[in-house]
């Protein structure tokens, strides 16, 4: 794949906005007609909308082959205030198009998978007739299309604010989808645990988004623009214009945003809880695409990070520590999705460490391959969970197709129904690996693709993960030895927990009836799995390094690096392939798998048996199982004091002070006493008395004058006489 020779050809750059429009059209159709047209149509429309976005992305990539410099497609003016001019503009270059392809490609496969998966999920989670249309099904696909639209806005943005719109939008979709079964707990009992997980994700991300916003404000304040090219140029000449602390500060605040969205220390805690969402969501949003937005952001802002050594070191350190820390937690988990969740945190740590070290190509490369194999693993785990769930209580439905016609009915000797319980008197947990075992026989296809995903994640040659992880390690060994050591240990743990998971889930004997009766999933789910498995095997071919000098002339070497060079120039360099690094990591991975086999493969876990690692590591395993008590630590350090502060503000300040004292005593009491003062002394004592006096005086006067009006004419005459005398005397004697 050498692009130099193809310099002319058709361009489809103007189609760029359709990567957002298609998913929006899809969700609008489902919103308006979904209920009338049935589940099959809803799933089809949503997948088609996502697929159309994939086609557009592919056309953009094709155009880039001819015009690798890319284009900025302006859609509309957005904000024009003084010197700040922001547009709705799509930036089509090799970097953004890579992300578009990953998002729409993996997204489309997951849409198709979800069309099969959600058919069962809505029927297991909702009461009522399984043959009836379930509105939740439509709701799910509307959210999913909305997510694709926002994610495309994020990766297609041409300025930081538009990117932020997408950033917040995917956060919203993440919230909606984690809390998709908002009235249930993760174990499907009635409760609000899922809604709490959604809130946790949203609020934790708020902390990160706050940092990102500050970074945007600072960027605008000091560089006068938010457009990527303008910012890059301003950063280049920054030394003359801005104080030296500005760029590291912007980069570190941006890092805070990255730790939120890409689940790095210290804000990673939301991602494991986010597994409360349906499994396709975990695969799409919380493994393949949304959580990599932070890595994309750092890569997109590479001029800023390249300009600050402090920021680069910090980012790389955070990533490396996260990679190791999360990998140790993954070892101690029993929930199949929790293992993958911590694995995702760990792998994101790899990517963040890579882009932090300046190995942007390696980071993006790992982002792409990780999207393939982690989506595969999550979808595979979804297939496993669904298989076990169907083994646990078969769904008797004559529903609308979906390759399922009540052939579970003969499993009647198993307990069925929502209220049935597992062996321990607790609700049966279809995600607990201790409830599985031996699924290799019941679900062969799932087993094989899961195995491929695991090997890719463990970094075994020649799977995709080997190439990308090795590239990160090779870069780290040159640039940042501390990170290299941390990441290598993390890689060892990665191989170990994946081995542990595969042996616990697929090998040995079935440890429950449900596992024994598990069913392979329908084709809508397995076909995407097979496609993703193929990508996980061959994805590494994107960027094959020069292993021996003999390969020097091969045209497809470092294809991905050359692809990104058009956008990132010098920054898109890769470290040299190092055989010692590759051998070390492979040996580490293989020995970890061997260790996993010794513990879980040689003598498979029996029903009710303790995890052998607990015997071996004792309190360390307990700590890993309890996630190093980080949640408890946050509870003690932040959430507890915060709650107490909130309670203090509510009870003491708001209620006692403002309500009881200020409002009731001061305002209402003051007004009452003022009113009483006005009423009693002033109104009754003065105003009222004056009128009473007036009335009494008038009555008294009229009584006196009335006596004069005697009715005797001679009296009147006398009065007239006296009056005349008085007037005359006055006239005469004055």
């Amino acid at each position: 794949m050498h692009f130099a020779e193809a310099t002319n050809g058709p361009t489809f750059f103007s189609l760029a906005p359709w990567i957002v429009f298609f998913p929006v059209i899809g969700l609008l159709i489902n919103l308006v007609f979904g209920k009338r047209l049935g589940e099959r149509f809803v799933g089809f429309t949503a997948s088609l909308a996502s697929g159309a976005a994939l086609v557009v992305s592919a056309l953009l990539a094709l155009s880039l082959r001819a015009h690798p410099e890319g284009e900025i497609v302006r859609l509309a003016d957005w904000i024009t205030i003084g010197s700040l001019q922001l547009e709705w503009a799509f930036r089509v270059d090799t970097l953004s198009t890579t992300m578009m392809l990953v998002v729409s490609g993996v997204g489309t496969l997951i849409h198709i998978y979800a069309a099969g998966y959600m058919f069962y999920d809505v029927r297991y989670k909702e009461e009522g007739d399984p043959g009836a249309f379930k509105p939740s099904y439509t709701r799910f696909f509307i959210y999913l299309n909305l997510f694709i639209a926002f994610m495309m806005t994020l990766v297609g943005a041409d300025n930081y604010l538009m990117l932020f719109v997408g950033w917040e939008g995917v956060g919203l979709c993440s919230f909606l989808l984690i809390g998709f079964w908002f009235n249930r707990n993760p174990d499907a009992t009635i409760g609000v645990e899922n809604a709490n997980a959604a809130k946790k994700a949203f609020i934790t991300n708020r902390v990160g988004d706050f940092g990102f916003l500050i970074a945007i404000f600072l960027t605008f304040w000091f560089f006068g623009s938010l457009q990527f090219d303008a910012v890059a140029e301003a950063v280049e000449h920054a030394a003359e214009h801005v104080p030296s602390w500005v760029i590291p500060t912007i980069a570190l605040f941006m890092l805070l945003g990255v730790t939120g969205k890409s689940a790095q220390l210290p804000l990673y805690v939301w991602l494991p809880d986010a597994m409360a969402g349906p499994t396709p969501v975990s695969a799409l949003i919380h493994a393949a695409t949304m959580v990599t937005a932070g890595v994309y952001l750092v890569t997109r802002s590479f001029p800023i990070f390249e300009a600050s050594h402090l920021a680069q070191t910090t980012v790389a350190t955070v990533g490396a520590i996260t990679a190791l820390f999360a990998a140790t937690i993954a070892v101690g988990q029993f929930d199949i999705k929790k293992v993958l969740a911590y694995s995702t945190v760990s792998q994101l740590g790899f990517m963040v460490a890579a882009v932090g070290m300046g190995a942007f190509v390696a980071g993006m490369f790992h982002l792409v391959t990780h999207a393939f194999f982690k989506a595969l693993l999550f979808l595979g785990s979804g297939s496993v969970i669904l298989g076990v769930e169907r083994g646990h209580h078969p769904l008797d439905t004559t529903g609308d197709g979906h390759a399922h016609h009540g052939d579970d009915a003969h499993e009647a000797h198993h307990e069925s129904g929502h209220d049935s319980h597992g062996e321990h008197g607790l609700p049966f947990d279809p995600q607990d690996m201790r409830n599985m075992g031996g699924l290799r026989r019941q679900m062969p296809l799932t087993f094989w693709v899961y195995l491929i995903g695991s090997l890719a994640l463990a970094g075994i040659f020649p799977f995709a993960g080997f190439w990308s992880k090795d590239e990160i390690l090779a870069d780290a060994s040159h640039e940042f030895p501390l990170a290299y050591i941390l990441l290598s240990i993390a890689a060892f743990f990665t191989a170990f927990y994946m081995g542990r998971q595969v042996w616990l889930v697929f090998f040995g004997k079935s440890r429950t009836h449900a596992a024994a009766a598990a069913k392979e999933s329908p084709p809508a789910m397995t076909v995407p799995l097979v496609v993703l498995a193929a990508l996980s095997v061959f994805g590494g071919a994107l960027n094959i390094p020069e292993i021996t000098a003999a390969m020097h002339d091969l045209p497809w070497l470092h294809a991905f690096q050359h692809w990104l060079e058009y956008t990132m120039g010098e920054a898109a360099h890769v470290g040299e392939f190092s055989l010692s690094v590759a051998l070390t990591s492979t040996v580490a991975a293989l020995s970890a798998i061997l260790l996993a086999w010794l513990l879980y493969g040689r003598r498979p876990l029996q029903e009710g048996q303790e995890d052998p690692l607990r015997r071996l590591l004792g309190p360390v395993f307990a700590a890993m199982n309890a996630k190093w008590w980080v949640d408890e630590l946050y509870e003690t350090l932040i959430i507890g004091p915060y709650r107490r502060l909130a309670a203090f503000l509510a009870d003491r300040v708001d209620w006692d002070f403002w309500h009881d004292w200020f409002h009731d005593s001061v305002l209402a009491g003051g007004f009452n006493s003022l009113a009483r003062t006005l009423a009693e002394p002033v109104d009754l004592g003065f105003v009222d008395r004056v009128s009473t006096w007036l009335a009494a005086g008038t009555a008294w006067l009229s009584r006196g004058l009335g006596r004069v009006q005697s009715g005797f004419v001679r009296n009147y005459a006398l009065m007239v006489f006296l009056g005349v005398v008085a007037i005359m005397s006055f006239i005469i004697f004055r």
Partner: protein, 100 residues
């Protein structure tokens, strides 16, 4: 020639007699007569001053007063007749219906 002071004195005496008559007597006819006496006291004064100053207007005023007095007596006597018919008396103290 009788000096003007004599006329004035006579007129004042007559007027006082008329006034006292109005104020003290209860018979309506007598009161009318007393009013007549007061009017004539005034008339006397008019003609006395007319002669004193040789002005004719005093004489003319006297004629007017006599005309008005005649008309007043006609109306007054008619009222007294009407009151006597309705109440059987012309005692002025019995006519106190309009007291306050």
């Amino acid at each position: 020639m009788v000096p003007i002071e004599h006329y004035i004195s006579l007129s004042a005496v007559l007027f006082m007699i008329g006034t006292l008559g109005v104020l003290t007597r209860r018979n309506a006819i007598v009161i009318f007569m007393s009013i007549e006496l007061m009017l004539n006291a005034a008339n006397l004064l008019f003609v006395a001053f007319a002669q004193e100053y040789a002005a004719l207007s005093g004489h003319i005023f006297v004629f007017f007063v006599m005309t008005v007095a005649a008309a007043e007596v006609a109306v007054g006597l008619a009222l007294i007749v009407a009151i006597f018919r309705s109440r059987g008396t012309i005692d002025i103290d019995e006519m106190n219906q309009l007291k306050g």
